[in-house]
Structure formats: structure tokens, C-alpha cells
């Protein structure tokens, strides 16, 4: 009987427990003169039975499964003769791996190895027993849980409070998953970055103006040492993001204002979803649009007025990225502008202000925190965007603020550092973590600023 079957059985027990306990709560309620006489609605007694059936059984299964492998493995390895043990950890691990695979049926056993056969047999028997015991225990636990809940139904039993407490704990666990994941990622990036800074001094990374991360892959290879000055990357990121924001903020904001304040409902009903489609276009599509359409067009224009524009330019990438993030600005601004209460507009109009005075002096200030939030969200999208830049702005780490030249960004370099065959602990790969860390810090700072701005200008209406 595989584990999934016992899980199904436990689920069924929980369901049955739910129904019978709810039913019992009903009949007890009726005997006592109505549902209102119970502390909680019958439903809650049912939930409680379900919880008691599921939670302890699942916890048991989880814990058991976490520990069983270690025990089984050590028992199986106990069969190995001393001379084999003496060959060291690696050999044992290899053997164990083989045995595990054979036991699971994923590879063939070698027919003339008696030791292996014995180990496989022991492993299979232990695994079988373990599965049987843990299934039986879990099912018994589920039944006991249901019985317990069933027995404790009485008018004074505070089932609702118990259920709510459980729900709160469950939500807390979900929240901690998100937080712990973040913390985990941050720490792994941090540790790898520290390793990188062990190889390349932090001052060179932060202040160096030359980026060419080519290092020797093999010991015997002759290669330049590679230099890791990240300034050109930051400058490129900044340049492209700035261009994108210069495009997106005015257009997004204006269109949001038009949609909320001036457009007829029919126009709005059509235009808003249409704008949001922009956000659904894959960035690769934007990327080749930038590379194949915008960049050549820009070069053509540049030449016609006597400017030299390189075929991959920050301007092309920035413009297209700006179009891509318009929906972030417009959609969020639109929501916050809509949330400004009509009474506020009435107050201004009632004083004889024109529509545009009302919008400029009352509606936008009231919506400013939300608008700033939208812009910062768009900014972090722009900073994190990779595809468009790879395709339209190039890989050359030029130290320039001229939007007509090719530049590269932090994210693009991370991609190029980690693609292809790499030795994991070379300075080249570790540099990706350092760049990631910088990116993370930048977005964090951006968010903190956003929060600060929002709090400073926070305005409660009403």
C-alpha cells in the first residue's frame, strides 16, 4: 500500500469526521433547544474534527518520513564488511546510492554481487515495514482525533475559538514561509558575495571603472586576470532605467488622469484593459521589437541628422522598456486616482475651481503616495529587466552616459556570467552573486524611500 493511499484514507476519515461531528453538534443543539444554545455553530465542531484528524496524522507522517531514511541507511550500511568501510565515506555513499536505486527499481542489480543483494533485500524489507507502521499509526491517530472531537461536542465547548486559533497559526506558518524564503535567498547571496569579495577587493568592485570578467577556466590556461569594476554596469542600468522612466511616467500618468477624470465610461471600459495588455506582452517580444525595429530606426534618424548612433544603443532599449512599464504606472495611478473620493473633487469644484485646477491641486496630491508607489514599482521593473537590454543595448560594458552608445546592465551581466560551462567558485561566477546583492540592495533602498515618501505624504480622506 503506497503512501498516497494512506493519505487518501486519512482525508476520508477527516471528511467523515467533519460530517458526523457536525451532525452530532446539530442533534445536541436541538436537544438543548436550538443552535443558539451551542457556544459555536455546528460547522465549527465539524471543522475541529477535520483538523484533529488531519493535523496530528500529517505531522506524524512528515516527521517519520524525515527520519526514516537515516535509520534505514545506517542499518543497511551496517551490513558492509570492515574493509569496505575503511575505503572511506565517498565509497560508502556511492554504494548506498546504488542500493537505493536498485531498491527503488530504477536500475538493474548486478547478478553476481551477494553483498549488494543482501543490502537491497534489507533495505526493501525495512522500507516496507516502515511504511506499514507509519501508515497504521497515522490512520489510528486520525481516528483518535475524530473520536476526540466527536466526544468533546457539548454546548459549552468553544469550538469556534479553537478553530480560529488554528487558522491563525496556519496563516502565520504561511507568512513565515515567505519570510524565511526571502531570508534564505538573501543569506545565500550574501555568503557567495563575501566569497567573491575574498577574491576581488570590494573597493575594486565598487569603484573600478573597467569590467571584463574573463578569467582562466583551467589552471594551465593563459588568460588575463579579469577585472571587476562594476561602475559601468551600474551606470548602464541607471541610464536605461532613467530613459524608461522618462518615457513611462508622463505617458502613464497622463493616460491615467485622462481615463479617470475625462474619459466617458465606454472609453474607459475599452481603454483600460487595452493598456493592461501591454503588461502581458512577453519581454522577449519587446526585446526583438527593440532590436529589429526601434534600434535601426533610431540609427537611421541619427544618421540623417548627422549623429552617430551605434546599432545597439541605450536609447533603443530604454524607449522600448519605457513602453513596457507604462501599464505599471498607469494602472496603479488609475486605481489610486479613482480611490480619491468624489466629495473631495466636489469640494474643490464647489469653490469655483476648474477641472484642471481640481486635478492638479487636489486629486493628484491626494493620490500622490499611490502614484509614487506605482512609479517605484515601475522603476524596479526597469532595473530588473534583462531581455530587452540583452537584445537591444548590447553586452559592451562601456563607461558612458551617452544614450546613443551601447551599454550593458547588471542583470545582463549576471546572465552572461552564469551561462555556459563555468567553474562554480571562480571569481567570474561569484561576481554574479555580488551583482545580485547590489541589485537587491538597490531595490531595497528604493522600497524604503517609497515607504518613507508614502508615509510622509500619507493623507487620509474623510
Amino acid at each position: 500500500m503506497p503512501l498516497s493511499n494512506s493519505l487518501l484514507i486519512i482525508l476520508a476519515i477527516a471528511l467523515i469526521g467533519f460530517f458526523i461531528t457536525r451532525q452530532r453538534a446539530y442533534s445536541i443543539a436541538l436537544k438543548n433547544g436550538g443552535v443558539a444554545k451551542l457556544h459555536s455553530l455546528p460547522l465549527y465542531y465539524g471543522y475541529l474534527a477535520g483538523i484533529w484528524a488531519l493535523v496530528p496524522a500529517l505531522i506524524l507522517l512528515a516527521c517519520w518520513s524525515a527520519f526514516e531514511n537515516t535509520l534505514i541507511n545506517s542499518s543497511v550500511l551496517g551490513l558492509a564488511p570492515a574493509d569496505l568501510v575503511a575505503q572511506g565515506e565517498d565509497q560508502m555513499a556511492l554504494l548506498l546510492n546504488q542500493v537505493q536505486n536498485i531498491a527503488a527499481g530504477s536500475i538493474e542489480a548486478s547478478p553476481d554481487d551477494a553483498l549488494q543483494a543482501r543490502m537491497v533485500a534489507r533495505m526493501q524489507s525495512l522500507q516496507g515495514t516502515s511504511l506499514l507502521i507509519k501508515s497504521a499509526l497515522a490512520i489510528i491517530l486520525a481516528v483518535v482525533g475524530v473520536l476526540w472531537a466527536f466526544k468533546s461536542v457539548n454546548p459549552n465547548y468553544r469550538a469556534r475559538i479553537k478553530v480560529e486559533g488554528f487558522v491563525r497559526i496556519a496563516m502565520l506558518l504561511c507568512a513565515s514561509v515567505a519570510v524565511l524564503t526571502t531570508v534564505g535567498i538573501v543569506f545565500s547571496v550574501l555568503f557567495e558575495s563575501v566569497r567573491f569579495f575574498g577574491k576581488v577587493p570590494i573597493s575594486e568592485f565598487m569603484l573600478g571603472t573597467h569590467w571584463s570578467p574573463q578569467t582562466s577556466i583551467r589552471e594551465d590556461q593563459v588568460a588575463s586576470e579579469g577585472s571587476f569594476g562594476a561602475i559601468p554596469l551600474f551606470l548602464g542600468t541607471l541610464l536605461i532605467s532613467a530613459i524608461a522612466l522618462i518615457v513611462a511616467v508622463p505617458i502613464g500618468l497622463m493616460s491615467a488622469i485622462y481615463l479617470t477624470e475625462y474619459a466617458k465610461p465606454q472609453v474607459r471600459a475599452f481603454a483600460k484593459p487595452a493598456m493592461e495588455i501591454l503588461a502581458g506582452i512577453p519581454t522577449v517580444v519587446y526585446g526583438f521589437f527593440a532590436a529589429l525595429t526601434v534600434a535601426p530606426a533610431l540609427r537611421g534618424w541619427g544618421e540623417s541628422i548627422g549623429l552617430s548612433v551605434s546599432s545597439e544603443s541605450a536609447l533603443a532599449a530604454g524607449l522600448v522598456m519605457g513602453v513596457m512599464i507604462i501599464p505599471f504606472v498607469s494602472s496603479l495611478s488609475d486605481d489610486v486616482l479613482n480611490a480619491v473620493p468624489q466629495t473631495m473633487r466636489d469640494g474643490s469644484l464647489g469653490l469655483g475651481a476648474t477641472k484642471s485646477e481640481t486635478i492638479r491641486q487636489v486629486v493628484i496630491p491626494a493620490a500622490l503616495p499611490g502614484i509614487v508607489g506605482g512609479v517605484l514599482l515601475a522603476a524596479s521593473r526597469a532595473i530588473g529587466e534583462t531581455m530587452i537590454v540583452v537584445m537591444a543595448a548590447g553586452l559592451a560594458a562601456n563607461m558612458t552616459v551617452n544614450p546613443l552608445e551601447a551599454v550593458t546592465t547588471v542583470t545582463v551581466q549576471i546572465v552572461t556570467l552564469l551561462t555556459g560551462d563555468q567553474e562554480f567558485d571562480s571569481a567570474k561566477t561569484l561576481a554574479a552573486f555580488a551583482l545580485g546583492l547590489m541589485l537587491f540592495i538597490t531595490t531595497l533602498v528604493l522600497n524604503v524611500i517609497a515607504l518613507h515618501v508614502v508615509r510622509k505624504y500619507r493623507e487620509q480622506y474623510e
Partner: protein, 284 residues
Amino acid sequence: MTKTAETTSSDTQSRNSQLLAEFKETTGNVRVTEPKMRMDNVNVHYGDNQAIFDVNLDLGKNEVLAMIGPSGCGKSTFLRCMNRMNDTVDSCRVTGSLTLDGEDIYAPEQDVVLLRARVGMVFQKPNPFPKSIYDNVAYGPRIHGLASSKDELDQIVETSLKRASIWNEVKDRLDAPGTGLSGGQQQRLCIARTIAVSPEIILMDEPCSALDPIATASIEELIDELRQNYAIAIVTHSMQQAARVSQRTAYFHLGRLIELGETKKIFTNPSHELTENYITGRFG
């Protein structure tokens, strides 16, 4: 509820609907000799719903006109016609003639912005802007260019706040946000904001519903004082207040102007039975 009470209330209810069905035109004289504003045959629809039926009404110079009536009878709607605030409601349609000093305020060439500067409004719910107290009051004077210097603006702000009897409470924190005030303070701030523009007419929609008795008394004093220079239309649910501040009172019922007359007469000796039922609390 006792049996008798139930019977009386449902009796009044059917009597009221009967009276409403029989209603033809407003009891009492709706006209004054020197009207500031004159409304003729005003009908208001929200989509297919008619909210105001054929109302004729004059607002005299230097008078306070009280509008009373049960909730939902159209008092706010009518008030909002008088400075075209209903233009902001898409579904709202106003017909009839409304004139201010003889000019049609719904005429196509009429500039609503100028109209609203002349006919100011205090709303039912306080709606201060999310700006500082000072900027709230200075908002109107600034957009209309009423002050030529900072000193002059300071002066306007101070007098307006004083007249709305909130100066003492806010004079030390003019930079604090207006939205941080209590409900009653916000309402007085909105009144100050309105009078800072020096309109010719002030429309007040239940200006005191969020105020304590002391603030109410000072607002009533203000209304009395404003009457020297302005015409005021005030909607109120408090009959005592209507009796205290107004010269004439209009009684609205389900979108009709039932009766109009001297305030004293309306409250002591109403002519129409519907008015009487409302005044005496037998409204159903």
C-alpha cells in the same frame, strides 16, 4: 410596539400617500419681491428616477431660507442644482429655469467656474482637502487671485477661520493637515474655506450635523451675521435650528415642495397637513 401605535403609524402613512397623490401646487407664496435667485419649474432626474418635481422657489436677498423634509426627499439634490454641482453626476438631468440676478445659470454661455465662485457650498459631509489647514482656506482665494500679497492672504485666512469660529482651536497649527481635525472641526474648516471666497450666496447642506451644541451655536451666529451681505439656503434636519436661523422655511416631501412660508408660521401653524404631520413627528 403596541397595537395602537402600529395602527396610528400605518394610518398616517396611508393618509400621507393620499395627500401626496392629491398634491397639486405648493401652499404659500413661493415668490419674494427682490429675488437673488429664482427657480421655475425645476425637475431633476437621476437616469429614469425623478428626484425633484416642478419646484418653484425664490431665494431673496439677505435672507436665510431653510429647507426641511424627510431623508431622501431631494433637499440636497435641489441645493446642488443651485450651483450646478449636479453637473458632476453623469446621470443627472436638470430642467426648468434657474436664474441668478436675472441670468440663466444653465445657459450654455454661463461659466460654471464663475458661477460656483458666486454660489458657494458647504457639503453634508465635511470634505477638507488633504492639505494644511492654512492651504485649505487659502485654496479658493488663490485660484481666484483674491489676494495680491502674502499678508493679504494671511488676513483672509485668519478672518475666515475666525468667522467660522475655529481660529482659536487651530491658530497654533495652521501647518497641520486639515484631515487631522475632528469631524466638527473639519466642518467648520469647510465653512471657513467657503466664506474665504466671499460668495454672494452660500448653500449649506446640514452644516451642523457633526457639531456639538457650542459649535452649532457659533455657526448659527455666523449665519445670522452672514445674512447682512449674503443670501443663504440651508438644509437642516433640526427644526429648532431652522426656527432659530431662518426667515422662511420650505418643506419638501418626496421631491415636491409642499409648503413654503414664514418660518414662524410653518412651525406654529402649518397650512398643509403633510407639513403638519412632519413637524409634529407623525411622519411615516
